[in-house]
Symmetry: C2
Subunit: 419 residues, 2 copies
């Protein structure tokens, strides 16, 4: 049992933040037990970790990130997507044929995730089996919640980064077999996107989904080109999402769709039907994709919208920054498409960044009773000159803060950096 | 005489960066003397400050920033402009009636400007004379280049933040008289924007401009509302810029127009004719203004476009971040207005952030011979895994870096933090 004192802020809905200033949060066996205005009688004598007026908030969830692109953050950002992929991304991903390289870069990646306050993530590796195993094990060792995918790409990809259909299915099955079971880190099917997967591969992945009861993550209608190309290549489907539905990839477990910028009504219907996640990646969208996801419309259609860093198209792992950027982009979307979308509130953005994203992984992302205590202590955003309530201080952190403001991290109730 | 060694990057045009890797820069009497691939014979024996492969770049220029809004960074960012102003900005600015408060906040502001690598700035104070004097003196003491304005607002402003026309002109003249002369910090006329200035006030400011030969800064066509309201209130003018031209405010010295998001052809014509600066403030534009300035069109019309943080509508003083954001917004503008604008290169954005902005202040902002040596040493962006040339490392700094990457600062040849 531990007790923490501070200004506790978390989200229970997209409508408003729940704020419990100057309060006590009790953690029992790694899980939130309760929040109290004063120390309850039954806990008298339990030592209090007192964070004063610092904020205690849930850790963040990143539902779309490419671990092998970690090293290429922030370069070539003024290029077109196709040039950026061919100049930087594909050559970098090809390096992960080396397990030594994978070990080195994936270690840095996992360390930086935690540094930036992200404790739950849905992650793309590369097509390389051994490197993907290494990433999987590093995440397990860190104790995080994660879904990890060996990427599938057997067509329309550079020679040095293509696998045969047979190799792709064989290595994917090996990956699923190796990591079957119920740990915090789970394998997930990861067809890169429809244009890089043959119909035969997609069918085979559907069979693996049924056999291993696993979920799927991919990029969906991330550009007008991709939306059109997907249905051109899969002519029996009339929307991008239908490709995955028809392959049987949406029936067995979670489905996570990155970007979802140009969905059709059919895409909306399929995502809602299967309880899929749409992942909004503001910086990435802005850097190399162009276009703004219809977050408000997705929410109105009762689709779960979470946030993603999409490193390396996004240039940093901090999901708190993406919360701020989500508000910014919603303002621009309202400006350019006033009939389609309105500005979202900061509370809504924070909800996506924590509670909604966390719901992919079970009871994480908020401070309800019984939820895993995955939390951050945020300081240095208070101001002696402008009294700011905890919600404003949280907003200021997301807009102006960085990892220096994260003064402590708790993962499953355990304070990191102290073992 | 000092010699610095490192990877030297600066801008001579919007087209491309000038990169001199592994080179030596000589500084004589605070000014750039030359750049050499090896130590010239004549400088043998001069001690070298060796920064290895760190970048040596010109310091940044911020051409639109509100010093009294420094404390309110990053709060209320999901509000509409009008609500944000009435809830946070106007009450905060009103506090600067207290010289003690001004001293405290303006000290923090000046310190953070330098921390973020900005050494030249065009700054709005408030309407308060004494507080504005304090800001002026703090900047002089810091040794920076700056233009500082006492804000004018005699109509359409909250009761607690309005002056009479007479007070406004009297205090402005006092401010100009006190600070006449040729230091690095200069006074500048600062009508907040046309809607907060009566015709009589605007006329009086024109007379002061002629009498004191000083320049002007203001907000121009920052929103559709403002653009329409300005010409409604000044019915003898057919564009926002014409209000200032007719008042005689553009004839005597520099003119700096913040935002310039919805210019008419007449605005373009006037800005070009008077050699005015248009200041692009990407984050601010995105946070509370909505709309994207036509940077490329302005450049094509041969208008000088610089960058501004516009704190507090912008949430941070780092102009390097605004360079990255300028590229991002140009991508969105191309997406939404493909006929009007194309993506700008990172080199173009860096040029705005340094050389173009610096040109307001004389020979600063680049490393030509005889330019003031106002410079930053940038480290921690190199990568052992991906060999990156100096231009890419600079881009990475602007996208992913923060003040920790600024390892040394030189102002007029003097290394800061060492006296």
């Amino acid at each position: 049992m531990i007790l923490l004192h501070g200004d506790i802020v978390y989200s229970e809905s997209a409508e408003k933040l729940t704020v419990r200033e100057n309060s006590y949060l009790s953690v029992d066996d790694g899980k939130v037990e309760g929040i109290y205005g004063r120390v309850p009688e039954k806990y008298k004598g339990v030592p209090v970790e007192d964070y004063g007026r610092d904020l205690i908030i849930p850790a963040f969830s990143d539902l779309h990130v490419h671990a092998p692109q970690f090293e290429q953050r922030g370069i070539g950002m003024d290029l077109l997507l196709s040039d950026w992929l061919s100049t930087y991304t594909f050559p970098e991903e090809a390096k992960f044929r080396s397990p030594e390289y994978a070990e080195k870069i994936y270690s840095l990646f996992v360390k930086d995730l935690l540094r930036q306050g992200t404790m739950h993530a849905a992650i793309y590796a590369t097509l390389h089996l051994e490197a993907t195993d290494i990433l999987f094990e590093l995440l397990e060792k860190a104790g995080m919640d994660a879904l990890v995918g060996k990427v599938n790409m057997d067509v329309n990809s550079p020679d040095f980064l293509t696998e045969t259909t047979k190799e792709s299915l064989r290595d994917t099955e090996t990956f699923l077999e190796r990591h079957a079971g119920g740990g915090r880190v789970k394998p997930i099917l990861t067809p890169r996107f429809a244009p890089t997967c043959s119909a035969e591969l997609m069918k085979g992945l559907g069979e693996l989904a049924r056999k291993y009861r696993c979920g799927v993550q991919t990029h969906l209608v991330e550009s007008k080109w991709e939306a059109a190309e997907a249905v051109r290549l899969f002519p029996d489907c009339c929307s991008d999402a239908e490709i995955y539905e028809k392959a049987g990839l949406l029936d067995t477990d979670v489905s996570i769709f990155g970007h979802v910028i140009f969905p059709t009504e059919e895409d909306y219907r399929i995502l809602r039907k299967h309880g899929s996640f749409a992942v909004h990646c503001p910086d990435a969208t802005n850097n190399v994709i162009a276009g703004i996801a219809p977050v408000r419309t997705e929410q109105e259609r009762e689709i779960r919208v979470a946030l993603g860093s999409d490193v390396g198209a996004g240039h940093g792992l901090g999901i708190f920054k993406q919360a701020a950027r989500a508000v910014q982009l919603s303002k621009l979307k309202e400006f350019y498409e006033p009939d389609v979308s309105k500005t979202i509130s900061f509370a809504n953005a924070f909800d996506m960044a924590t509670r909604v994203g966390g719901s992919l992984f079970g009871k994480v992302g908020t401070f309800g009773e019984g939820y895993d205590f995955d939390a951050l202590v945020i300081g240095g955003t208070e101001d002696p000159e402008i009294p700011m309530d905890a919600a404003l201080r949280l907003e200021r952190f997301c807009y102006t803060g960085d990892d220096r403001n994260i003064r402590a991290r708790y993962l499953k109730g355990r304070k990191l950096g102290e073992e």
